[in-house]
C-alpha cells in the first residue's frame, strides 16, 4: 500500500506541494519528474550511491547513546551522528545522490543555493569529485556569518555568487538559483532541501531516507526494537528531519518532533517558526506553509542559524504538521546556544547551530525514564565557532 506520506501524481502531500513554476522551467522539471524514481530505484544507481555513501561519505554514521545527556534528562537519548559524515553534515547524502542523477541525465553544470553553507560545501565537494562545474548562490548576510564554509566552497573550486536582494539569506539565494536556472536551462539545480517544485521535495527526502534506514537496524542492535519512542530533528526547509522521519512516518507509535527556529521568540517579529507564523502559500514553486503578510508578500524570517532562516517549510512537513503526525516545537537563539554549550561540555560534541535547536527542546519535554529518544545530530559546529565564541563573551 502506498504511504499517505508519499506525494500523489501531481506532487501533493495532502494540500501541499505541486509544481508552481513558470513555463520556462517546465521542460527541466518534467525531465526530472519523468526519470528520478526510475534512476533512484535502478540497481546501477543504488550500487554507486551506496558505495559512495560507504567509502566516500563514511556511512553508516554511528548511533550513539549519549550517557551523560541521558542521565541529565532521564531518558535514553541516542544521537544519530550525521555530523560525522564527510563535509560535516547530513547534506552530503543528498548531494551524492543528486550528482549521480545529474550525470545520468547528462548534465555537466551544477547550481545550488545554500544557507549555512553546508549544502553549498556538500555540492562543491561532489562537483569536485565528479569534475563538474559548480555555482553556489548564497545570501550576502550568510556569506558573512558562515565565512569558513565560503572559504571551503572556493577551495573546492565552486563559484560563490552573493544574493543581494530581499533579506539576503536562504530565501533570496534560492530565488537567485531559480532565476539562473531559468536563464540557463542546461544546468542541473541541485536543491539542498525538501523544498521547491515537485519532484524535488520527494527526491531529496528519498536521498536523505538513508538516515532512518540505518536508525532502524542500529536501534534493533542496541535496544532490540527498530522503533524509538521519539525522534527529534530541526527543521528549516526540513531535509534532515525528512531523512530521520522517513521510514517511521507510517508507524504512528513513533513520536516525530520537528523543531523550528524561534529566533528572538515566536511572537517577537524576529522569528523563523514557520508552522506557528505561516499560512498556506506558494514559495519556490511549492504550496506550503509560508510566512507572509495579508497581501501574500513573503516575509523576511530571522534566526541566528543561517540554515533555519527560511520563511517556508517543505510541503511534506506542512502535511506532517497539519495532519498532526509530527509535533512542531521551537527553540529561540538563546535556547539553541545554551543547548550547544551543554552538549559540548557533557558529551564533547560541538553541534551545528541548526542542530542545537533540536537539542534545545529536551528541557521542555516531559521525558519518561525508559523513553528511547533519537536526536538527529545533523551537523557539526565548526562553521559556527565565531557565533559560539561571541556568546561565551557575553
Amino acid at each position: 500500500m502506498k504511504s499517505k506520506f508519499q506525494p500523489d501524481e501531481n506532487g501533493y502531500f495532502g494540500q501541499y506541494g505541486g509544481a508552481f513554476i513558470p513555463e520556462l522551467l517546465y521542460p527541466n522539471v518534467k525531465e526530472l519528474e519523468d526519470n528520478y524514481i526510475q534512476i533512484i530505484e535502478s540497481e546501477e544507481f543504488q550500487t554507486e550511491y551506496k558505495s559512495l555513501l560507504k567509502d566516500y561519505v563514511g556511512r553508516p554514521t554511528p548511533l550513539y547513546l549519549a550517557k551523560r545527556l541521558s542521565e541529565k534528562y532521564g531518558a535514553h537519548i541516542y544521537l544519530k551522528r550525521e555530523d560525522l559524515n564527510h563535509t560535516g553534515a547530513h547534506k552530503v547524502n543528498n548531494t551524492v545522490g543528486q550528482i549521480l542523477i545529474a550525470q545520468k541525465l547528462g548534465k555537466t553544470k551544477i547550481i545550488a543555493e545554500t544557507g549555512a553553507g553546508q549544502h553549498g560545501v556538500a555540492t562543491a565537494t561532489v562537483c569536485a569529485l565528479m569534475g563538474l562545474e559548480c555555482t553556489v548562490f548564497m545570501g550576502e548576510k550568510d556569506i558573512v556569518r558562515q565565512a569558513p564554509n565560503v572559504a571551503r566552497m572556493k577551495m573546492l573550486g565552486a563559484k560563490v555568487v552573493p544574493a543581494t536582494s530581499g533579506s539576503k539569506t536562504l530565501k533570496d539565494a534560492t530565488n537567485e538559483a531559480i532565476r539562473y536556472w531559468i536563464q540557463h536551462p542546461d544546468t542541473f539545480y541541485l536543491i539542498g532541501s525538501v523544498v521547491g517544485p515537485h519532484p524535488h521535495p520527494d527526491m531529496v527526502a528519498r536521498l536523505q531516507a538513508v538516515i532512518s534506514e540505518e536508525m532502524k537496524w542500529q536501534l534493533k542492535e542496541k535496544t532490540g526494537k527498530e522503533n524509538p519512542d521519539t525522534i527529534i530533528a530541526c527543521v528549516g526547509g526540513g531535509s534532515n528531519a525528512a531523512g530521520a522521519f522517513y521510514h517511521y512516518m507510517d508507524d504512528e507509535e513513533v513520536e516525530l518532533i520537528a523543531v523550528e527556529a524561534a529566533g528572538l521568540g515566536v511572537n517577537s517579529g524576529e522569528s523563523a517558526a514557520t508552522s506557528q507564523l505561516g499560512e498556506v502559500g506558494i514559495i519556490h514553486g511549492s504550496k506550503t506553509i509560508l510566512m507572509q503578510d495579508e497581501y501574500g508578500q513573503i516575509e523576511e524570517p530571522y534566526s541566528i542559524s543561517a540554515g533555519l532562516d527560511y520563511p517556508g517549510v517543505g510541503p511534506l512537513h506542512a502535511f506532517l504538521y497539519e495532519s498532526g503526525r509530527a509535533k512542531f516545537m521551537n527553540a529561540t537563539d538563546k535556547e539553541a546556544l545554551a543547548a550547544a554549550y551543554e552538549l559540548t561540555k557533557i558529551e564533547g560534541i560541538i553541534p551545528a547551530l541548526e542542530t542545537a535547536h533540536a537539542l534545545a527542546v529536551l528541557p521542555k519535554m516531559d521525558l519518561k525514564k525508559d523513553q528511547v529518544v533519537v536526536i538527529n545530530l545533523s551537523g557539526r559546529g565548526d562553521k559556527d565557532l565565531d557565533i559560539y565564541s561571541k556568546y561565551l563573551e557575553e
Binding site: F20, P22, Y26, I182, V280, I282, I283, Q297
Partner: protein
C-alpha cells in the same frame, strides 16, 4: 468577447504593449502611467502587481517591485487606483501578478475585484497548466476572466497546441529562455524559434515579450507576431526620467 479580442478586431499588427509596475516610481503614479501610455498610442497595458519574490522577472522589475512595496503599495490600493480610471481608460489592461497574491487575497475576492476594475485578462507566470486545468480554468470562467499562457523556445509542439486551445486573449511568446530584461537585440536563434511558431498556424494571436527594448527589436518582433511587450526597458526609463516623459520613450518606438 474579451477586451483583447475586441482590440484584435480593430488592429492585429504591430501592437505595442507596455508592462509597468504599480506604485512605481511613486505610490500614486499608477493611474498617471496608464493615462500617459494610452495617450501616446500604446495598444494594451500590462499592469504589474509588485511581488516580494518575483521569480519569473529580472532584476529591473524586481527592484521596481521592491521600491513600490516600500512606497506602500498593496492590492487594495491598486484596485482603488484602477477604479478611479475605469470610466475614462479605453485601453485594455492585463493584470500580471504571482499566484500567491491571488491565493492570499482570496481567489474569488480577487477575481471579483479584477472584474470590478473592468479587467478581463490575467498573466500569472507561476500558474502551471495542470493547476489551470484542475481548478483555475473553472474559477476564471465563472468570472469571465481569461488567462494568458507563456511559451518558450523549449516548449514542445504538443504543449503549444494545448495552450493554443485554451487561449482566449493571446499567447505570450517568451523571446528567449531567459528572464525579463532588456537585451538589446534579437538573435538568429530567436528568429528561428519565431519562424517555427509562426509556421504552426496557431489560431491564437501571438505577442512576443522578454528582451524587447526599443524600436528596432519591437519591429523585428512584429514581423513574427501580432505585437510585442516592452517591460524592463520602460521601467528603466521611468526610473530615470519619471512619469512626465513617457511620450519621449513611446513615440520613437511606434513612429
Amino acid at each position: 468577447m474579451n477586451s483583447i479580442q475586441k482590440l484584435f478586431q480593430k488592429k492585429d499588427q504591430n501592437l505595442l504593449s507596455i508592462y509597468f509596475t504599480c506604485g512605481f516610481p511613486e505610490l500614486n503614479d499608477t493611474t498617471k502611467v496608464i493615462s500617459e501610455l494610452e495617450k501616446h498610442g500604446v495598444d494594451f497595458i500590462e499592469v504589474g502587481l509588485p511581488y516580494s519574490d518575483p521569480l519569473a522577472d529580472g532584476p529591473t522589475i524586481q527592484e521596481s517591485s521592491q521600491k513600490a512595496l516600500e512606497n506602500g503599495i498593496n492590492l487594495d490600493l491598486i484596485f482603488d487606483q484602477l477604479m478611479t480610471i475605469k470610466a475614462t481608460n479605453k485601453t485594455p489592461l492585463v493584470l500580471m501578478g504571482y499566484l500567491n497574491q491571488m491565493l492570499k487575497y482570496g481567489e474569488d475576492k480577487f477575481c471579483q475585484k479584477v472584474v470590478d476594475c473592468g479587467i478581463d485578462t490575467l498573466i500569472i507566470p507561476d500558474l502551471p497548466m495542470v493547476e489551470f486545468e484542475n481548478h483555475y480554468q473553472q474559477l476564471f470562467d465563472k468570472y469571465g476572466l481569461t488567462n494568458v499562457f507563456l511559451i518558450t523556445p523549449n516548449t514542445e509542439e504538443e504543449r503549444i497546441r494545448k495552450i493554443d486551445s485554451y487561449t482566449k486573449a493571446f499567447i505570450y511568446v517568451v523571446a528567449s529562455s531567459s528572464i525579463t530584461g532588456a537585451k538589446g537585440e534579437i538573435s538568429n536563434q530567436q528568429i528561428d524559434y519565431f519562424d517555427r511558431i509562426k509556421a504552426m498556424n496557431l489560431k491564437s494571436k501571438l505577442i512576443i515579450g522578454f528582451g524587447i527594448s526599443d524600436k528596432q527589436t519591437f519591429h523585428t518582433a512584429c514581423k513574427y507576431a501580432n505585437g510585442a511587450i516592452i517591460g524592463s526597458a520602460f521601467i528603466k526609463n521611468v526610473a530615470k526620467n519619471g512619469v512626465d516623459k513617457i511620450d519621449a520613450f513611446i513615440t520613437p518606438i511606434i513612429s
